[in-house]
Assembly symmetry: C2
Homo-oligomer: 491 residues x 2
């Protein structure tokens, strides 16, 4: 067994040279596809296409083709293997012999596919033990590093760019990655992505240790079907949670889900109650849906943690306020009562404005707002009063988007930025409206100023609830850790 030092994985994410081994036929889904994607996202390292028949290809995408990793004189840190499963052990053995440190085995047909595949996978585990080489996979799409453009996935990838940011995703499925998710439309801020696949070697413990130490990663979102080593997982997760939020979507919660897991990764799962208790105890944020796994991290990344769960919400209609109050209750937030000073000042802005949820509908439909060059100027007074109240820890502010307002967006975004940055409260924005392109455009502009925007009110409020939960959890964890023993820090 290798040491569980996160630095082990550096070769997977920051290789100077990468060998890509497999078919170089010009179709996506092959070794050619992986090379094409690395070029598409501007991978900054060297790429060495490897195929036993180099003369068949000559050059691939302007790169010289080698027949074997041992032929390459320059150092190879990472090999990406996409060859038929039966050939993989030999290819991996050869990489290890040539001094390659890290190997991603993308090929399918291992433990997930029956006895024969399981035997092949055991051979890979053997090579790891004997040689010290590290393997991600098999049955994986590998990794993404937004900082250097490393994207090892072979299928067609319809994102033009991956925004560099602080959120890391690790998963046990190929459904998370630039070939499957609208990263570009969302302007989703990524640090690293990793599909662990069948986990013949590198597993959730390694990746949590690596991400804990990765200075680019500020929030970790994890899709997980099983855990190989419970005590080690708890240790690694606890270390990470002490300095970064960890979200976990534990798939296979239900009996039916657990049965489905066994059939596609060949892994067996423990009871969901055990996972739930462990995740709670170590302070991870448990989410229940795919959408939550993607949406919640942005509030954690862009905003300060709240010091409590006292919540305020500014809506454009009273009906939205009621729905927001229900969502807040479900998310563990308390609809706060404003101080008498805030109530007084709000009611000076507009009659009957002092209660929370703050319904600004009547203000907006007032003729003074209608005729102003900035129809949202009343927010200039209302937002500081709400965020400045000592009884408020976090808030969701509503904005109604429409095509006719697009020219005003830069002004509105500046206003939100200016009004919210004056306070260290946790804020996100709920966008609704009549046109998706207008909503997505506003979301992108807000996010460029670190204001997380949501198209779903319940999810916006859930994200604040998760932030409040993590804030409370971390304080008690840190208190506990400090008083009992010293623990390793992470970046």
């Amino acid at each position: 067994m290798n040491s569980r030092n996160g630095s082990d994985l550096r070769a997977f994410f920051q290789p100077a040279g990468v060998a890509v081994i497999g078919s170089l036929r010009e179709v996506m889904g092959t070794a050619y596809g992986a090379i094409k994607n690395m070029r598409r996202f501007g991978f900054s390292g060297a790429i060495y296409p490897i195929n036993p028949n180099p003369s068949k290809y000559g050059e691939v995408l302007g790169l010289k083709v080698y027949s074997n990793v041992s032929e390459v004189v320059q150092p190879i840190d990472l090999a990406v293997v996409i060859t038929p499963p039966s050939t993989v052990p030999e290819v991996v053995e050869e990489c290890a012999r040539s001094g390659v440190k890290a190997i991603i085995v993308i090929s399918e047909g291992f433990a997930e596919s029956g006895k024969e595949g399981a035997a092949l996978q055991r051979k890979l585990a053997d090579i790891v033990r004997r040689t010290g080489v590290r393997i991600i996979g098999p049955n994986t799409f590998g990794v993404v590093n937004a900082a250097n453009g490393l994207v090892t996935v072979p299928p067609y990838t319809d994102n033009d760019k991956i925004e560099r940011g602080g959120i890391a995703f690790c998963s046990q499925t190929g459904s998370i990655g630039p070939h499957q998710v609208p990263l570009d439309d969302w302007a989703y801020p990524i640090s690293k992505m990793c599909d662990l696949g069948n986990k013949c070697d590198v597993d959730e413990v390694d990746i949590l240790n690596y991400l804990a130490d990765d200075p680019e990663t500020k929030v970790v979102a994890m899709h997980m079907e099983d855990v190989r080593n419970g005590p080690e997982f708890i240790k690694a997760a606890r270390r990470l949670v002490a300095c970064k939020p960890l979200l976990v979507l534990k798939a296979g919660r239900s009996e039916a889900g657990a049965r489905a897991t066994a059939s596609h990764t060949g892994s067996l799962m423990g009871s969901d109650q055990i996972y739930d208790a462990a995740l709670r105890q170590l302070g991870a944020i448990r989410v229940n849906t795919w959408q939550e796994l993607w949406e919640v991290p942005r509030t954690l990344l862009y905003q300060p943690l709240p010091t409590g769960n006292r919540f305020a919400v500014i809506t454009f209609t009273g009906g939205q306020g009621v729905i927001a109050a229900d969502a807040a209750s479900a998310a563990g937030l308390a609809i706060t009562n404003f101080s008498s000073d805030t109530v007084r000042k709000l009611s000076m802005v507009f009659p009957r404005l002092g209660s929370n949820p703050v319904d600004i509908g009547p203000v907006m439909s007032d003729s003074r707002s209608q005729s102003s060059s900035n129809p949202f100027h009343s927010l200039e007074e209302i937002v500081p009063l709400v965020l400045g109240d000592d009884n408020v820890d976090c808030a969701t502010i509503t904005f109604s988007c429409g095509r006719q307002l697009v020219p005003l967006y830069p002004m509105v975004v500046d206003m939100f930025y200016r009004l919210t940055k004056a306070f260290t409260k946790t804020v996100n924005i709920w966008l609704y409206g009549t046109r998706f392109p207008a909503m997505l455009e506003m979301a992108r502009q807000l996010q460029a100023r670190r204001l997380p925007a949501y198209l779903d009110l319940d999810i916006a409020i859930k994200a604040l609830g998760c932030a409040a939960y993590y804030s409370r959890t971390r304080s008690s964890l840190q208190y506990w850790e400090n008083s009992k023993r010293r623990m390793g820090n992470c970046n």
Copy 2:
């Protein structure tokens, strides 16, 4: 009290002539705005702008302005009133005297705004009692009828069209309507919409009776904060549920939500447990979020009701299958076991394909699929085997969208249409991918063939769960009704 015959509301939705009373200044949000929206959506009836100073305007949008409803010779079925609150009782009185049958009072400043407003609202209720005129509102945006283009909302409305279809929305908030929701981007199939506002007269009982009898309406989605008359509501809802599904988003479930309700509509709410028990007993589908209220109805509208809860799912990755199985459990669906015949035939299509969830990832990445002119041709064999299995009542089929596939969409949509219409199973499609515009385009094309498409897997499966729930409920209701007494039918 008026009789509770649904036909009372016909004048609100199918007026031959509409008077719009209020400011005709060319800004949205006014009487002018309501007229502008009626024209925008091609209202087929006559419109009469009414303002005490007709000479100030001359014509508005090419329409002659009258000083008073009594001046209009032609019959006026509906008056839309947007004047200052203190003037409303007099305006309404005058309408009633002139023979107007239905009045929508859009003006704010009634029971929701304190004692004075409450007194004004009592005056309106008095007029209703004395004259028999019917009022929707005050504090409402009124109604939409997609069949004749009647849209009484005054604010700017950024939808170019409202698709005529079978889903009715009634609400106690102005947040539901063509000025607030991306109906056009969704190609959302609407029959009627109605914001009940402060309910000085027309309430949820009237609207349920009307929608039960409305042949255009096939599914009713209701946002509700309070019920005025419990026994009458149960009677009306039960009558509707016996022939059409009724979804209810009961806002103000939490204590905080209930408090927020009181402050914005002036209504008091009962305990949520009472609502929950009543809604269950009468067979309504209770949904918990805004998103569910909008998304679930499409499956109920476009697809046949399932005869049971046995669910199959076709996914592109094994990880999606596990998440789908969890979602199915949460939605009350059972992941079905295929018959041995189906298992055998599926495994002849591709090795290891016989289990549910059906993971077609390996089939898709197979070189035969990759090189085919229709990369989805394997679905031609798989979908009929799954839907044809006697153990399957309902199914979600996954499709991965991307810009490069847009030219293939018509072929793919034809294929889904052909393969699913051969069976009377309840089917919806989960779309995921890398580009929102490509996903929305595919959703629109599928929906034009009555195939409900979803961008969220959990919601797609929840919608099938709601369909199975309603199917079961309706059978037992109908059995009960038939054996105990005769009840009125609805359209």
